[in-house]
């Protein structure tokens, strides 16, 4: 397995290299000149040149890229044009917040998907199943930023008692209770779209498994229906669900960008959204790079887990 993981990590290098080029080119083709944002009002040419040199933007693009990449591989993503804070430091400060939101969203999404998906599959074509599949389709189609606003409206202005505050963030170490209360609404917002996808996957995987011979054998042995479902059906049906959850990491990162903006959560998504209007290149580059690398690593983790969970998949064949 170690060889497989190493091989996959090595294969990631050229892709990661292309990703860095992509990020650099995308950010630098911007039509505006960030120097003008930082040179103050009515700057003279000497000031503009000085600011340009200070930001390192006076050098040719390939040189800027090489310098950025060589520093990036050492963990230095440059300094924010706006705040002069180190980008790596800014991301590290905010990453745990986004991570906490992502974990909470995955927990909500997976727990509900397993519960409702299993009931829906067992009671296939019943009213419960019909409602579940309809809600699933609705969940995929609902814009998460609108859902976020509706939740804020509901819990801040309609439901009495302010059970869940409509925004802001309190670190877990400062006040665990307040941290969790503030996490509920944003986590539900991020979880909804992925819940719909996970639920659909649990249901269809279970339906596939229900038709297998070993299910008939388990029932013929006289096993209790609950044991048949939990020990035989769910165990096998969960394998493709793992893949789907892995793919959801991307959706979680996407969801975090919008959700952190709505709920004023100081995560990396909000950091990027705040950096975009001021053309703060290093911050946008850093956040996009971290998002892409996290997505790539989570995909790798899922592939490894998938091969580990399903003995029919050998690490050799999975390499293809």
């Amino acid at each position: 397995m170690t060889r497989y993981i190493l091989r996959r990590l090595l294969l990631m290098i050229p892709v990661a290299f292309l990703v860095t080029i992509g990020i650099f080119v995308i950010i630098r083709i911007a039509p505006g000149d960030p120097v003008l944002t930082y040179a103050g009002e009515n700057p003279d040419p000497v000031t503009i040149a000085a600011v340009r040199a200070d930001l390192g933007l006076d050098r040719p693009l390939p040189v800027q890229y090489a310098a950025w990449l060589s520093r990036a591989v050492q963990g230095d993503l440059g300094r924010s044009f706006q705040t002069h804070q180190r980008v790596t430091e800014a991301i590290i400060e905010r990453l745990p917040v986004t991570f906490e939101l992502g974990v909470a969203a995955i927990l909500i999404s997976v727990t509900l998907a397993l519960l409702i998906g299993t009931i829906s599959a067992i009671k296939r074509n019943s009213a419960v199943d019909l409602v579940t599949t309809s809600v699933t389709l609705a969940g995929v189609s609902f814009p998460n930023f609108y859902l976020g606003l509706l939740l804020i409206l509901l819990f801040a202005y309609v439901v009495p008692g302010h059970i869940f505050p409509p925004g802001g963030f309190t670190p877990f170490a400062t006040d665990p209770g307040d941290n969790l209360r503030r996490l509920v609404l944003p986590a539900i917002t991020v979880a909804t779209a992925s819940l719909a996808v996970n639920l659909r996957q649990v249901r269809s995987s279970l339906l596939d498994v229900f038709g297998q011979d070993y299910m008939r054998t388990a029932r013929a042995k006289g096993l209790h229906e609950r044991a048949v479902i939990v020990r035989h059906a769910l165990k096998n049906a969960l394998i493709p669900v793992v893949t789907i959850i892995g793919i959801q990491i991307g959706a979680i990162i996407e969801g975090a960008i919008i959700t952190e903006t709505i709920f004023f959560i100081p995560g990396i998504g909000r950091l990027a959204v705040q950096a975009i209007p001021s053309q703060d290149y290093p911050v946008v580059q850093g956040v996009v790079l971290v998002s892409a690398l996290s997505f790539m690593l989570s995909t790798l983790a899922v592939d490894v887990l998938y091969a580990f969970l399903d003995p029919r998949i050998s690490f050799g064949s999975a390499e293809a």
């Binding site: 892709v15 990703v19 039509p31 389709l137 189609s141 814009p143 609108y146 991307g250 919008i258 975009i276």
Partner: protein, 296 residues
């Protein structure tokens, strides 16, 4: 005289195109529901200038922040603009972004996938590494980065969402081409000297079109949602022009005053549009996938 058994000639009438479509729809009633929803959406977008009761950008302070009524079905915003009219005009933005960006993704992605799958070798290797690099980005993050870089305009949102859609088509097409490439009819076409571009377009493409149609329908749903998200972040069409995402973002400041109708119209509109394409995509997949068709 011995009896001679004459061959019985039964003239089989080939079913016409209309009756084939009717049969197809009868077997797949969900297609009818999806089709009707799509027709309503397209009708609203196409005839928005005639259906909309008010000018969507004309300020009318006297009517500001009116709740839904007979005069203003979905109420008015803080500038007295009719929300229903803005929703109708906004459908033009969302649907055009959906269709154009999906077309960009379709054309580029399918071309890359066809060439990579059919030619193989170095082109396949290089093209797929680039596609892998594009796939390494969470889709919306990439769309935000591209739009932020090109500038907040509707055309740039279309390009960004189109670029994001490319890898999906390329991967799907390549996989389908690899499955079809070794078929006997392709070998036969090659043997009689049919040029490669013709084999790709006339022999392979029609055989993989079903999967691509399904992908295009579902990708349109994603494109509408992505455009709304970009507009919400201020990266889509700029005010005062109506756009669903931007209107929801604008309405946030009135949330505390319980002016819920400002966001309800565009929010529900996004939901219906995305739901329509998702529903249609699912129905198409069920109708066109032979495995699902058999299992009923």
């Amino acid at each position: 005289m011995s009896e001679v058994a004459l061959p019985v000639v039964v003239s089989l009438q080939k079913p016409g195109r209309v009756s084939s479509i009717r049969y197809f729809l009868r077997r797949n009633p969900r297609m009818i529901v999806g089709g009707v929803l799509l027709f309503i959406l397209l009708f609203m977008a196409a005839f928005a200038p005639f259906i909309a009761p008010y000018d969507p950008i004309k300020v009318n302070i006297a009517d500001q922040l009116q709740p839904p009524s007979f005069q203003h079905w979905l109420g008015t915003d803080d500038l007295g603009r009719d929300v229903f009219s803005r929703v109708l005009w906004g459908s033009r933005v969302s649907l055009s972004v959906g269709v154009i960006s999906v077309s960009i993704g379709f054309l580029v992605g399918v071309s890359i996938g066809l060439l990579a799958g059919y030619l193989g070798g170095t082109f396949d290797l290089l093209a797929m590494r680039v596609i892998d690099a594009l796939l390494a980005f969470p889709a919306l993050v990439l769309a935000i980065a591209i739009t932020a870089s090109l500038g907040p305009q509707i055309q740039n949102a279309m390009i960004a969402i189109g670029v994001v859609a490319i890898p999906g088509y390329a991967r799907l097409t390549r996989g389908q081409v690899l499955a079809v490439r070794s078929s006997e009819f392709i070998a036969a076409a090659r043997t009689v000297g049919v040029p490669p571009w013709r084999i790709m377009l006339r022999h392979i493409f029609p055989n993989i079109a079903n999967a691509l149609v399904v992908q295009a329908t579902l990708a349109t749903a994603f494109a509408i949602l992505a455009e709304a998200a970009l507009s919400f972040l201020g990266l889509g069409p700029q005010p005062p022009y109506p756009s669903w995402g931007q209107d929801i973002s604008y309405s946030q400041r009135y949330l505390a005053n319980m002016k819920w109708w400002m966001s309800a119209g565009p929010g529900i509109a996004i939901f219906i549009a995305v739901f329509t394409f998702n529903f249609l995509g699912d129905a198409l997949r069920d109708a066109l996938d032979p495995r699902l068709r058999r299992s009923g």
